[in-house]
Symmetry: D2
Subunit: 135 residues, 4 copies
């Protein structure tokens, strides 16, 4: 997944304002669901009423990035629990890792406001993705 660094992403020092990366991560998760897992993210939220609230987020900002650069963002599954998912998202330009983030999210019923087990179809898609990454 490619992310162009825009004017609006950068701060008075000319580099990406760090909360922007966390917003990008959320978009990366959406695109990962829709394009890599084959699950429509919007439909999961709006129709299945299944949310993925973040319970932990972290990021190491290794090298600053500037307007006009394009980051390649990749997702790796670190842990797939009963109702929680831990992923790593690296942002790279060429061979250089610019940032490395981690998100832990919990599959949650948006009606009951509580955690629910990861549904079978989503788990199967994640296991297939994980196997493909390891291959």
């Amino acid at each position: 997944m490619q992310r162009l660094i825009r004017f609006s992403h950068t701060d008075p020092a000319g580099i990406v304002y760090f909360p922007v990366y966390f917003d990008m991560f959320n978009g990366v998760v959406e695109d990962w669901f829709t394009h890599a897992l084959g699950l429509n993210y919007a439909s999961m939220i709006l129709d299945r009423r299944l949310g993925l609230p973040i319970v932990h987020a972290e990021c190491d900002f290794l090298v600053p990035s500037r307007m006009g650069e394009t980051l390649t963002m990749g997702v790796v599954i670190e842990r797939l629990g009963r109702s929680s998912l831990q992923i790593r998202i690296n942002g790279e330009i060429g061979d250089q890792v610019r940032l490395s983030g981690g998100l832990t999210m919990v599959t949650t019923s948006l009606d009951a406001f509580g955690p629910v087990p990861i549904p079978d179809d989503i788990r199967a898609a994640m296991e297939a993705y994980d196997a493909a990454c390891r291959a």
Copy 2:
């Protein structure tokens, strides 16, 4: 430091969108400099050309918060290095810790684009703050 949760901070699930907290953290650092350390943050950036880029950020989101609630954000110094500063920011409502974040930043020359030792006046203000917190 008080932070009212606004309509714009919340997502379709009605809770704060997690990158908003990292943006709040940056504002908390600004207010902490200006009000608790007695150092004008804007002047530090614009006049002294000293920046505080974040090299690591993390947060545990323990309890979701909703529009209309007011978080109290407190800053604790965890480590004061030669040119780096590690702080913890907790967001609480009443007795309940809603979120607990950590930021590591490096004092950086905005002209030379490299780390510089924490200036003496800033270090002194941080040490005084830290001593007051522990007292």
Copy 3:
């Protein structure tokens, strides 16, 4: 209503990124409801399920503002219709008008997703505010 210009509000040119002002306007409307009209904005949305979607927004950006400056934002009612409200929000520093924005919003049922007449208590509060401004 006072608004401190933060680091995160400004762009690589060092001035406020213009969409930030529209986000500020939304916050100004919230505070105006809660503090000037005496109506809890969050409760209006969450409990009364009454929304105020914006159907038109505009702004003249007259003088740029920079990090560390504090804008004073004032609200004037320009037109109070059956289910629509048009306001002007000026942002000033000292005697200087930095920006002048206009918002038109429509009182909308968040359950029926359609416009509803402005409820009597809200209309009365707005008329009282308008009379006080003109006095």
Copy 4:
């Protein structure tokens, strides 16, 4: 130019939060420069030190849009002055115009902080684009 409506763009009412559209407009202008005018936007800012601050922005929000929808954004030049440019940006889905915005910007030296005439190469690219739109 296509814009997917993401989770983060939408508000507790499930529709796009209006300041997001103005942020999208800024990105549309960037992409318009780079892809339609053949002028690298980032390079214009960073290398030529030429900015395009917005002096007026407006938008009619005609039909709300929701997460998962994809807007097509088109740019039309309304007025090309000596140092100012006025454009219209419509956002459409299928035959339906969802929003119609206007931006007026002024070519500005980021070193001298004042307006400068639109450089010849930029004016030529805009005139060619305008002619192609009218054809």
